[in-house]
Amino acid sequence: MEHYNMNLTLKVWKQKNKDTRGSFETFHVKDISSEMSFLEMFDVLNEQLIEEGKEPIAFDHDCREGICGMCSMYINGRPHGPWHGTTTCQLHMRAFKDGDTIVVEPWRANAFPVLKDLMVDRDAFDRIIQAGGFISVNTGNAQDGNSIPIEKEKADQAFAAAACIGCGACVAACKNSSAMLFVSAKVSHLALLPQGDPEKKTRVLNMIAQMDKEGFGACTNTGACEAVCPKEISLDNIARLNKEYLSAAAVIDK
């Protein structure tokens, strides 16, 4: 692969903490290799800032291989940047060219308050899982793993839904800040499996109630979430969630 170096202008959101107002600041970086990842470019910028006696830019990241779901940058108006099906950490600088200006913001949603610079608080997602995103089985009383055969197709669909990394890009992309894709991925994952069947009605109702309580918006089926999801979670899951929700709401008196 041919590689090249580039000079870039960055407009990055800076915000001291939850309670202060933030604003954009402009930075310049030089000799960025096309082989770097986007976050490695930020590493270079931060080293430069420390060298100059300034404070580096705070951003969330951990595994840097696209699976932990921690990285969360809104790059040039798109969560995780220009590449399809890719997290920020897996975005590489080949996606940009010399002289580009790149605008980087945090996720913006009422339910995800900014903690500092590009870091946001996503505890709301954990609380949605607490509301029902599990199968109630205590350790130690499981039957043999092969005692319930599961159709391969269903198992594969459940896996595709379970591949969600909980990064929140779907919320950041949505004009309503809806968390429907996230919630539907979990509801689908568990509803598709026989193990998840006994709790499927309470699960979907409780998770939706919690989603509303956290201040996420409603879904208007625009599909921006699917378009930016780094794990390519399908909108079909939202359809499945709606079906599960309707059938649960019809029979449960709450």
Binding site: S33, D126, F134, V137, Q143, G145, N146, K152
Partner: protein, 658 residues
Amino acid sequence: MLDSKIPAGPLEKKWEDYKGHVKLVNPANKRKLEVIVVGTGLAGASAAAALGELGYQVKAYCFQDSPRRAHSIAAQGGINAAKNYQNDGDSVFRLFYDTIKGGDYRAREANVHRLAEVSVNIIDQCVAQGVPFAREYGGLLNNRSFGGTQVKRTFYAAGQTGQQLLIGAYQALERQVALGNVKMYSRHEMLELVVIDGKARGIICRNLVTGELERHFGHAVLLCSGGYGNVFYLSTNAMGSNVTAAWKAHKKGAFFGNPCFTQIHPTCIPVTGDHQSKLTLMSESLRNDGRIWVPKKKDDNRRANDIPEDERDYYLERRYPAFGNLVPRDVASRAAKERCDAGYGVGTTKQAVYLDFKYNLINKYGRAEANKQGITNPDQETLIRLGKEVVKEEYGNLFDMYEKITGENPYEVPMRIYPAVHYTMGGLWVDYELMTSVKGLYALGECNFSDHGANRLGASALMQGLADGYFVIPYTLGNYLADDIATKPIPTTHEAFEAAEKSVRERIDTLMNIKGKQSVESFHKRLGKIMWNKCGMARNEQGLKEAIVEIQELKKEFWQDVRIPGEVGEMNPELDKANRVADFIELGELMCRDALERAESCGGHFREESQTEEGEALRHDDRFMFVSAWEYKGDSDWNLNKEELKYEMIKPTQRNYK
């Protein structure tokens, strides 16, 4: 000699007997007992969930923004279990034997046997939780094979097995949070252990959002904080993975076991330049279907696809015909290094070998699909097309990841790979009950040293993390806490908490007040280079002695010249990193000392002075059949304790994969 408290009786009965006689805590008393769990990866999340289910009052801590982010999530290939669903001769004994042999006879028999026994329960538990393992068309679970074994015992979920297992454990944990049995503290980092009257009774941690120091009491403390591969700077670990919790415990009296035992994984994407922040693994499962080769000619600059079959050296198949591309990780890594050092490496840096899927893509998958579809005499193109579809289903996400990072399409050209630091077999020394040398302080998962000897087999880390958390600690912790039911929670105004918090505060203030010139990152990179060059894939006496001096100098420089911007009382990722790097520097010295002391080669620890004529690791069982358990005495000062390893069931021999 250390007492590992291994129960008496025949090996295969030890765990059963232990469980039958262990002390219990009744449900009413469990509710009065508080347990601290540090780290929420597979070991921590499973332990916190299982203990919460039992009724203990659990407090769990992680430095990430959610427990679901822990680095177990990145494990790709699979999890072993002795189910023998494939009818290919697997058994608890075989898994036990493979693990002991794979670890080059430096693991404790009783622990490993217990691990093999509970492996089958793990799969059942995970299926019940809704973990979507790969299945056959008949609806039953599928398996693949991994290195160091001749059976197919690895359960998997595409190349995201760790993610699916962790999400399972995370959901079990969140369920306990919802039920009020577990209180979760995310974005918290443990910075000190509190010991009262010789027992672990709490921790001091920093709230990473506000910068405040907090005191937390627990009747017992469980460290599930993972491994320390990031001491090398470049590794497959997450950026935040660190040794700090374990190191604080070490300095408070927990012995450190076999610190020099590091696993260098053979199949990672090679380094491209100085900007590199981490290395990415390509799962070992790829060695099922990929063939590893280098050109037969030195400095061959032709493109991989232009090199004809008879000019390729499939060196693993050549050297190890019985196991071929599926030799254990340490053996595969050294063989790659040997070829590259001899001048046969490929790519721009010449520090890489090829991992090639074409052969199996065509001959294994393509042909099988063609047969299935009744296509007679398929041409090459059809075979490639058909094979690609199958390979995509098995490894699609890994191939995509490779392409994103390198810009090359591995369906068309072979992957370039090179070994990288991946896992640390060493860790806090624990006894059979997973208790460290500090009473009431436990270490689970990668954080402890116990099950993998000098080399871990693939797909065994997930197994160990979940075994410790779901099936071991719920029994062994009760045995300790049964004697503690009368102990009331100790108020965190106790002088031991005061003193511990004061020491943390002073250390942070010292760090912030250095106001030097060099960034934390630059020190970390320098430490990594010393470690990789002198305590990496090959080690020798002279290099290790030099490394110790260099690390001591680096440490001095760090404490005189590190620059940490920002304030103490706010979110400050540079300060968090500085705390971790300071501990890595001290650990690096201990690792070199341990590697120097162990003048033999075993598993991943390769001392150049000790090798067979064919360049294989040569053990010295007469002198080194023990676990090194290092006791902290003071600055750069350790005392070596030894736990003798006794093999009752297995007779240690020179490992042979030929």
